[in-house]
C-alpha cells in the first residue's frame, strides 16, 4: 500500500465488535492474529476470551494428534481431512527443551490440552494448537508414578473449581487407590477406595459405580 488511507471513524471498529469477530475465528489462526497489534495480542491472550471461545463454539476445532515417537508428532484438522483431499499434516514441536531421556506417554486430552507424562516425575500440560506448555514436577510420595501398574488414568476438567485434574488409580494389596492431582493447587489427594467399586473415566469426568 503506497498511500496511507485517511482514517475516518468508519475505518475503526470498536473493541467489543472486534472481539465478537475473533470469537468466530478458529484457534489455529488466532496465534497469527496476535501479531496484528499489542491490543489484539492482549485480547486473544486473555483467559476470559479463551473461555468464551471454547464455550461459544462458533469455530470449534476438531483435531487429531499423532505422536510417532519422542521426537515426532503431527496434527491433522479433522474437518479438513474429512471434507477434502488436500489436508495439511502439521509437524508439531514438543514442549521439551531437549530430547526426553526416557519415554513419555499421553495421559489424555481435555479442552484442547494434552497431558504428557514422563516417568516418573514429570507431567507436561501442552496445547499443541497454541504452543502453550507447563511442566509440573511431582514427587510421588508413597507410590511412584509408573503408570504401567495403573488400572486407569486420565486427565479432566472440574468446572466447579475451574481446575484441571489428573487421576490415577492402582490396585495394590487388594485395595484400589485413587490419586487425584490438582494443577490449581499443585497438590494431590489420595483416596482408598473399596475394592468392589469400579471406576470409569468418562469424557474427562471420573464416574464411580459400585
Amino acid at each position: 500500500m503506497e498511500k496511507k488511507k485517511q482514517k475516518s471513524i468508519n475505518d475503526i471498529l470498536p473493541l467489543d465488535l472486534i472481539q465478537r469477530i475473533l470469537l468466530r475465528i478458529p484457534v489455529k489462526h488466532l496465534g497469527r492474529l496476535k501479531c496484528v497489534s499489542k491490543l489484539w495480542h492482549s485480547l486473544i491472550s486473555d483467559p476470559d476470551f479463551a473461555e468464551s471461545h471454547l464455550h461459544l463454539s462458533f469455530a470449534p476445532t476438531h483435531a487429531c494428534i499423532y505422536i510417532k515417537n519422542s521426537t515426532e508428532a503431527y496434527l491433522v484438522h479433522l474437518d479438513e481431512a474429512f471434507n477434502g483431499d488436500n489436508y495439511q499434516v502439521k509437524e508439531l514441536s514438543f514442549p521439551f527443551k531437549k530430547k526426553p531421556t526416557s519415554e513419555f506417554r499421553v495421559m489424555g486430552s481435555c479442552r484442547g490440552f494434552v497431558l504428557l507424562h514422563q516417568e516418573p516425575y514429570y507431567f507436561v500440560v501442552w496445547n499443541p494448537l497454541t504452543g502453550f506448555s507447563n511442566i509440573v514436577h511431582r514427587s510421588m510420595g508413597r507410590y511412584s508414578y509408573f503408570l504401567d501398574n495403573a488400572i486407569l488414568y486420565g486427565f479432566g476438567y472440574d468446572a466447579s473449581r475451574d481446575d484441571y485434574l489428573v487421576v490415577v488409580a492402582w490396585q495394590a494389596c487388594g485395595c484400589q487407590l485413587l490419586h487425584c492431582f490438582s494443577f490449581k493447587t499443585n497438590s494431590c489427594i489420595s483416596l482408598d477406595v473399596h475394592s468392589s467399586s469400579r471406576w470409569v473415566l468418562l469424557s474427562g469426568d471420573l464416574v464411580g459405580c459400585s
Binding site: D11, P14, L17, H29, L33, S37, F58, G131
Partner: protein, 166 residues
Amino acid sequence: MSGISDTERMITLKTVEGTLFDVKSSIAKDLKTVQAFIDDSDDDVTSPIPLPNVFTRELSRILDYLNNHHRFRSGIEKADEEMARYDAEFAKSMSHEELKALILAANYLNVKDLLEFLNQTVADVIQNKSVEFVRNFFGIENDYTPEEEEKLRNENEWAFNGVEQD
C-alpha cells in the same frame, strides 16, 4: 385509514443525509435501538426518528435484509435454501469498506441477527489472511517494533503456514 392494527403501523426514520424511510413497525422491532426509542416515548411517535450515525446506503441495506428475512420466515418450507442463497449474495455484494460501514450501522441500531451474520462474514474473510491484510482491513497501526514482531512470528511460526497471499 381506520382500524389500523399494530403490525401495519409505519415508523419514519431519517438518515444522516436527511433521507426518510417508512418502515413497518414489525420490521422496526428488529432495530432494537429504534424500538427502545419508541418504547421510551410517552406518545405515539409521529415525526421522523433521526438516526445521526446511520447513512442512507447502510439503512437501505439493513432494511432490505430485514424485509427479506421476514419474508423468508413467514413463507413456505423451502425458505432455508433461499435464505442461505440470499445471505451469500448479500455478503458478496459488498466491498470491505461497505461491510465495515454496515457492521457499524447494524451495531448502532442493534440489529442482532444481522450483526451476527456480518461478524461471521468478516471472520470468514480475515481468518486465512496475512497480518498486514488484517491491519489494513481494520485500519490498525502496527505498534510492535520489528524485533518484537520477529520474535512473535517465530513463536507462532506454525500458524503462518498456509496463509493466503494478499
